[in-house]
Amino acid sequence: MTGATLLAAINFHTLLFLLFAGLACGFAVAVVLADNVVRMALYLVLSLASTAGLFFLAGAEFIGAMQLMIYVGGTLVLLVFGVMLTAQAPFVSIKTSTGDRVLAGVVAASLLALLLQAAFSVDVWRRPGVGEVAPPAATPLGMALVGARVDEPAAGAPATAVRSGYLLPFEIVSIHLLVVLVGAAYLARAKRRRTPRAIEVAASVESPSESVQSTGSRAAATGTASALVSGGSR
């Protein structure tokens, strides 16, 4: 087979799939193997971004963009924020003991074998996609979220299948997010209110000569902490 025919035989979709799949899996393994928590965060970002690429390749453009925006752009920024707040020198790298690693390797190998066995076990899944090409659109997804299904029935589904909208789950998720938002705001407020009392207590316990100095430094320390926490909660 000459180079040109070999190139012509390449399915570019598959090539891109292999590229993104390799990146996603490679960085996921790197997250496990890395000890430095900041590097772990970086690898996780890259792994999740590559997964977004996989979603685009599967025709789920909205999910891919959602993954980039909420997961990578929101959740992981929050996570990196947490990493930075706690990344004091001794905690940047916490080593895992060798015994744990070996045990984890054995468990991982068996779990992976099980999952791969399951993935290859169904014959229909192994057949290459028939590529029914409808231009991907986000509108049916949006309509489904407000309770109206305008998409066609899933390919190959029985004609009697029930196709429900998603208004109720959508509302539940909205309320859930609101609760989380309020909770986060509450946590940030509680920290700020406690600050003056902590200083008071510190001042009353220590001797007068020291207290001036320590109050100053403590105020600075708690001030920084509360500023960071309130920043983080946003």
Partner: protein
């Protein structure tokens, strides 16, 4: 047609894997690897944030499977596709993962404030 199962290990350049369209199984393999990596990450990391990252990986692995089953492109001959349902579930997983991460992060930061460490092996106050 059956190249995936027959020759998974031989080099990718044997245009067999490169020449065939992607099937659902390809995505399931990726999902399995992400899932396993996440489980291991949750199990062996002693940094609380590392455990959180493991959870994210597990959720992501599950999402890959949902999207694969929902995709009209990957559906094999005679298979049933999840259609829009799979995408909606993936969407909810992403949203709830965001909420879950916020709460877990708040717990971690409180733990850090009280114990001055993020090593979860030191969280043994309730030990009898």
């Amino acid at each position: 047609m059956n190249l995936v199962s027959a020759s998974w290990l031989p080099p990718l350049f044997a245009a067999g894997l490169l020449g065939e369209p992607v099937s659902v199984t390809h995505y399931l393999v990726v999902g399995a690897i992400l899932f396993t990596a996440g489980i291991v990450c949750m199990a062996i990391k002693r940094n609380a944030l590392g455990v959180l990252m493991g959870i994210e990986l597990v959720l992501n692995g599950a999402n890959v499977n949902f999207v694969a089953f929902a995709s009209p492109y990957l559906r094999g001959e005679g298979a049933v596709s999840l259609g829009l349902d799979g995408q909606v579930i993936a969407l909810f997983v992403i949203l709830l993962a965001a909420a879950e991460a916020a709460v877990a992060l708040a717990i971690t930061l409180n733990f850090y404030n009280n114990h001055s460490t993020v090593d979860i092996d030191r969280a043994d106050d309730l030990k009898g």
